[in-house]
């Protein structure tokens, strides 16, 4: 027995030492038990430069997808067209990425810079043959694959056959991820020393998931297999059924599961054009407050969740879906948004775009401010934002980032088409969201008329488990009742290594005029100069305003009538005078 061992036994100090060691390891192994909870590692040491080749040399939705993946590992990211990269751009860079989204000839300067780069260098997609450091791969043609597989043998089938670069790898390069077809497997992510190659340009669906897992290797992240998860109760508006909400709240409370409630501050009835605010629905507010106090966190889900004549919860709010364009005018205004062809010249179109952006900015600012203020006035404290149907322009996300530090859901990565919707496989902080933490939704929801909705969600969830810290997040409409929710929650709880996200324990900051809401390890704090019964007072103010206007407008109306009669009478008198004069 060693000296140390004898000392432990003799002095009977074994238990305390063991406990101390266990505690020490616990702290290292379970980062989530720390003071401030964070699901995005945010390796501050990694400084990333992404050089890309796109059709027009600008950042597009493909590059933004890569942004969502890389921002999980560091917030120090710079994106530059490969044509524009200079020597000093590589200063301090630890990880260089080249993303060949299109086939193109790379400038010699970039090729040389890449060759001389000593840090980790990863190439994704096209043009790898032009890079000297990557002569260990030969990706000249593409081959079809129908599944993807990790080096540990875990694989997932692709919904359709997809093409990857047919990569021949010279030893001693290692294959980290493979594409699989009936003839065998083919390298998808390969590594040789600090050089990595990913043999696919489009980073959609399963490819982004597998690349995400591969990035852990590239960044040498020793993350444990812990899957953050959340469940979001969706589309709760002032006309929601408070009984159903309470039933859901009691169930989740009993299960000790933290969850999110996506609330819509105003319900707009398109038929009557009436608006219902939370001040009109005290029972719903009571239920939401109960949720907030017992595991629920409020997420602001738009302001009215509708545009033009659509119904709250159904309509889009921050995207003109009819024209598939950003919001450009008041709801009910021009049905058809002009496009470039509508204008005679580029100048007119540019002016229109400027006007549109001004309007959109005003529109979003107004809705966010009102939403935050109205919810706060009711004692409901939103901690994150979710755009209705996840649709919003990039300018819109930028505006949201001035109000919310956290965004929940999926992201529209194109400014031209709302269908280009992407999600990240893990919690991340994409640079194009201007610093907002993204808690992505990854497994969908239970559709009202789909009997196997829960099963479909669980199938999606299993895909997420490919990534060691892949997030399992979905949503549920409380109006569907409690039964399917019970089934969903029970199924989700069975996922191994699941860790429920408690939004209140994350560092969040919400700012609006007269309102500041913060949350984190020190709990939820609200600073507000809003009136305690602001909504009631607003309603009183509105009534007073209407009454005042009615009085004044009635007087003006009477004045106009008197004016008309007076003028007619004056005319008659003038005529009479004239007649008398003639006589």
């Amino acid at each position: 027995m060693s000296l140390l061992g004898r000392l432990f036994i003799r002095k009977n100090i074994v238990p305390p030492v063991v406990i101390a060691i266990v505690l020490l390891f616990s702290c290292i192994l379970f980062p989530f038990t720390g003071k401030a909870v964070s699901f995005a590692p945010e390796n501050k040491k990694a400084h990333i430069l992404v050089a890309y080749s796109t059709k027009d040399g600008k950042v597009n939705e493909k590059v933004r997808m890569l942004d969502m993946l890389l921002s999980h590992f560091s917030t120090h990211i710079v994106f530059k067209s490969a044509n524009d990269v200079k020597q000093n751009d590589l200063s301090g860079i630890t990880h260089l990425f080249y993303y060949g989204a299109v086939q193109t000839k790379l400038p010699q300067s970039f090729r040389t810079l890449g060759n001389n780069f000593k840090g980790s260098y990863t190439v994704i997609g096209a043009n790898v043959g032009q890079l000297k450091d990557f002569d260990f791969v030969d990706a000249t043609s593409q081959i079809p694959v129908n599944a993807l597989m990790l080096s540990n043998g875990r694989q997932r089938s692709l919904p359709e056959t997809e093409l990857i670069y047919n990569t021949h790898v010279d030893p001693p390069a290692k294959i980290l991820i493979k594409g699989v077809n009936t003839n065998g497997d083919h390298p998808l992510l390969v590594a040789k020393g600090s050089r990595y190659y990913f043999a696919r340009s489009d980073l959609d669906d399963l490819f982004s998931l597998f690349l995400a897992e591969g990035l852990h290797h590239i960044f040498n992240e020793k993350t444990l297999a812990v899957h953050p998860a959340y469940l979001r109760l969706e589309d709760v508006h002032p006309m929601a059924d408070p009984k159903k909400l309470m039933a859901v709240a009691k169930f989740l409370e009993k299960k000790h599961i933290p969850y999110m409630v996506a609330v819509i501050p105003v319900f707009k009835d398109p038929k009557t054009h009436k608006e219902y605010h939370y001040s009109d629905a005290p029972k719903v507010v009571k239920a939401l407050k109960y949720m907030q106090e017992n595991g629920g966190s409020i997420v602001m889900h738009g302001y009215t969740h509708q545009y033009r004549d659509s119904e709250t919860g159904e309509g889009f709010e921050f995207w003109d879906v009819k024209n598939n364009a950003p919001i450009s005018g008041d709801a009910g205004a021009n049905e058809k948004t002009p496009n470039q062809q509508t204008f005679n010249n580029a100048k007119s179109y540019k002016l229109f775009l400027q006007k549109q952006k001004r309007f959109e900015g005003h529109y979003i600012n107004q809705k966010l401010t009102k939403g935050i203020q109205e919810l706060t006035a009711q004692g409901l404290y939103p901690l994150a934002f979710e755009a209705p149907h996840y649709t919003m322009s990039l300018e819109g996300y930028n505006i949201v980032s001035h109000y919310f530090s956290t965004y929940v859901g999926q992201i529209q990565t194109s400014n031209k088409d709302w269908h280009v919707m992407r999600t990240a496989p893990f919690v991340t902080r994409p640079s194009f969201l201007n610093g907002m933490l993204l808690l992505p939704e990854t497994i969908g929801y239970v559709p009202e008329k789909e009997k196997n909705g829960v099963e479909m969600m669980m199938k999606n969830a299993s895909g997420q488990l490919i990534v060691k810290d892949g997030i399992v997040a979905g949503f549920y409409h409380p109006y569907l009742g409690i039964d399917r929710l019970k089934k969903l929650v029970n199924q989700m709880a069975k996922i191994p290594d699941i860790k429920w996200i408690d939004l209140k324990k994350l560092d969040n900051k919400v700012l609006a005029a007269n309102v500041t809401i913060t949350s984190g390890s020190n709990g939820l704090h609200v600073q507000s100069t809003l009136l305690p019964h602001g909504d009631q007072l607003k309603s009183l103010g509105d009534k007073l305003q209407k009454a005042t206007l009615l009085v004044v407008l009635t007087l003006v109306g009477l004045g106009i009538v008197l004016f008309i009669f007076g003028m007619v009478r004056n005319k008659v008198l003038d005529r009479e005078k004239e007649l008398h004069g003639r006589v």
């Binding site: 005029a513 005042t548 003028m567």
Partner: protein, 445 residues
Amino acid sequence: MNYVSFSLIIFQCLLILFWGYWLFISLFGFWEPRKLKEKSPKKRFLLLIPAHNEETVIGSLVENLLNLDYPDKLYDILVIADNCTDTTPDLVHMLGASVIKHSSPPDEPKGKPYAIRYALEQIGSDLTKKYDGVAVFDADNLVSANYLKEMNKHFLKGDKVVQCFLDSKNPEDNWVTLAYSTSFYFANRFFQLAKTRLGLSNFIGGTGFCVDSKLLEEIGWTAKSLTEDLEFTIQCILRGIPVNWCHTARVFDEKPESFKASCVQRMRWARGHWDVTFRYSHKLLMRAFFKCDIKAIDAFLYLINPGKMVLAALTSLLLFFDFTHNELWVGSVIPWYAWVLFIIYYFMFIAYPMVVDIGIKSFGKILKACLSMSMMFYSNVPLYFWAFFTKKNKTWKRTDHTKNISISEMNEKTGMEGVKKTIAFEEINMTMNQVALSEEKNQTI
């Protein structure tokens, strides 16, 4: 909603309701004024004209007053030559009116109120013995021939203070005179006439008013403020005596042509208004409260009106700033469609008296008047704002008068009847020039 937003909504509502009060009153300004029954001349009047170096215009007024449609024996004209250094007293004397010369003592400020007070002191007890009423005019004025006949009717009816229609000699000179004139046309009908119909008190307008001599003796001409007419009005209301309105007799005065001169004049009015507001508001409220006098409340609301105007302008600025900076913590209570309606009504407000009282029928002229008056109104805001802080400055800056128009020319312009007999004023003017020349000659010799 926060405290600021809620307070601003309430504040805006109060401002609008206050404005609604004037709007309500204005509704009684439509239709023709009621004419008083014809009465034979009985009352005796003293026509008082303070004049400071007014040789250019005084002749026309004296000539005009000498020819009023009223028995000569029942009225006297007295010009107060206030610190005159020109030929004003001589000219008046030659025309056949009385003159009283006033030289300010070194310790007394100069100005019209002091001149009137001096004259009244000089007249002494004769005021009530010889006259039933005292009418005051400015030297630049012209008066319609029926003025004293109308005053006679009012006094026989029992009225103690009567203000006549305030018209303009020079509305067409430029936008400043047009704005001034329009604001008077508007006020005559929708403020003064409307108030008379509602049984409220009118306000003396500085000239063309006639006061019961006993009342004038009782109250005196205090001359404590720059707007002694307003002060006198309030003193009457505090005694329960309303000022009455006479829409059928007119006085024409000369409006300042330069914007700067108009600012100086309005600054004087603004300072005087604030001064009176601070000295009399509480008294009016006390009377309103203890004697349930609606006229006192109405007068109080009139006194605080400039305050409302400045506050409304500041609120508008705030709303504009809020709108342009997307702050959104305060919203405008008035929606855009209401603004459109207000603008239409504003146009009608201006148009009606111009058509009915002045006989202008050109749409272009009315529109021009609207725009001029708007510009003039907005320039009032900084003046009233500044005057609030300088209300103790009681320096009287006189307005120069240069429009020598005779009443016959005025009658031609306005189409009014008013001249009983005509004296060739030009002849007297020529004589005056000859006198001046011979005096100059004598001095040279």
